[in-house]
Symmetry: C2
Subunit: 267 residues, 2 copies
């Protein structure tokens, strides 16, 4: 049996990464763990996020994964370097792929980033962008209401629109031509965000970009799945199954992507 790609997230946001992995890499099996019971990670300390992340990694390592995707910006900001160093499988986070896509897309070198308080406070995107291209001007904004809203299943409608418009107000008069959705929950609000920020801004989903780079990493390490069987994905949540399944259904609308089992995990 071919090994799977392990995906971890603080909750349901990483499902947008899992969805893109399934769409862009349909031959690969995904084993996903969302720590919904302890979501959100955004307001937590580095020590706490690191502890929780290692608990998720230990759970997935018992399932014999060949690669790890940290599908959570907060966990990436706090733990990517440590996980890369200590694990003997390739590890990818969601920050560097989004940063590289922004560098590709921006023409005026003014890039906006929205994320959780933890991600924004860590300045991880700013560092990732400037490490590659120092002249990038970064506008970063924390949007603390987005994750709790998405975790409650509020993805569109008047309430979502009002929260998004209000949150993005400080970003609206900036010069940015590119906006990174620096949280894997945010692609679920992408249309509302695009509308609020305007069509002149390219909105980058770190989920799509992370799936794309996962494809590159699989090739670099020559660990692509070579079997022809259609993979049956495994999804686990530490929280309530019901709401997890409901949100998963709203993301995995393509019936071909529904070959998944969803279970409760104790970590």
């Amino acid at each position: 049996m071919e090994k799977a790609i392990g995906v971890i997230d603080s909750g349901v946001g990483g499902l947008t990464v899992a969805h893109e992995l399934m769409r862009q890499l349909p031959k690969e099996k995904i084993i996903y763990l969302g720590d919904t019971a302890r979501c959100p990670y955004g307001p937590r300390s580095k020590a706490e996020v690191t502890k929780f992340t290692w608990e998720m990694v230990d759970f997935l390592q018992k399932k014999n994964i060949k690669m790890l995707v940290i599908a959570c910006n907060t966990a990436t900001a706090f733990t990517l370097n440590e996980l890369k160093e200590k694990l003997d499988i390739p590890v990818i986070g969601v920050i560097q792929p989004g940063a590289r896509a922004a560098i590709k897309f921006t023409i005026n070198n003014h890039v906006g980033i929205i994320g959780t308080e933890g991600t924004i406070r860590s300045r991880a995107y700013t560092k990732a962008l400037k490490k590659i291209k120092a002249e990038i001007d970064v506008n970063a904004l924390a949007c603390p209401l987005f994750v709790p809203m998405v975790e409650q299943g509020i993805l569109s409608g008047e309430r979502a629109k009002a929260v998004v418009e209000d949150s993005l107000e400080p970003m609206k008069n900036k010069l940015i031509d590119t906006l990174i959705l620096g949280c894997t929950h945010y692609p679920l609000l992408k249309e509302t965000i695009q509308e609020a920020i305007g069509n002149h801004v390219t909105v980058i989903s770190s989920s799509e970009e992370t799936a794309r780079e996962t494809s590159t990493i699989l090739e670099v390490h020559q660990i692509q799945n070579k079997e022809e069987d259609i993979p049956v994905h495994e999804f686990y949540t530490t929280g309530e199954l019901e709401i997890f399944i409901e949100i998963a259904k709203s993301i995995f609308i393509d019936p071909k992507l529904q070959m998944v089992t969803i279970k409760k995990a104790v970590i």
Copy 2:
């Protein structure tokens, strides 16, 4: 002194890759070699392209490069696997990055590819796409007039428009929502191609995508340039300096990107 990224091409087409490398990775030094004297590679045999490519690689290896970018689709199709196997530095071609970007962008899974006879005959894009996502439907079309036209400096105007429209005619009634410019010369005709194929089609530049993946590979191997000096790039051509410089000037319009030396190379 930090090592450079080596870039090889059959002529001036790879300059679009070099330009994107300089734009997306401004801290990296580029050493470029264009085999203009023996361009185009498109109609040549695999044996001949392989021999010429190795001659270019030998020239660049003496300059102590840390990574090799094969910025020519024909050379990638014929030599990527061999170069990856035999060289002890990371090697990237232009085909896989373009294929991965197409998989990310396409919604209806109908992807068009235009390239030289050699690239199209090799079916390298079709193989790269289907290896990752079997359900992608591929429409491939050779456009043998584009490279000689670009090498003569004809990049826009009525003559370019007529040639492009005529060449793309067989692609126009296809279902494609994504078109890969499967030749590094073609981004120089991008606007004319976009106009001819229609705005409903996402046109993918393998040059932009290759630069983006080069950034990923540098990070995977931890070989990013850490010095703060502004790099002075070196460009070499086996052909006439004058026309090479003229085309380079039309690509490197940003004055910050003009810190290059251009010399004649004997390989």
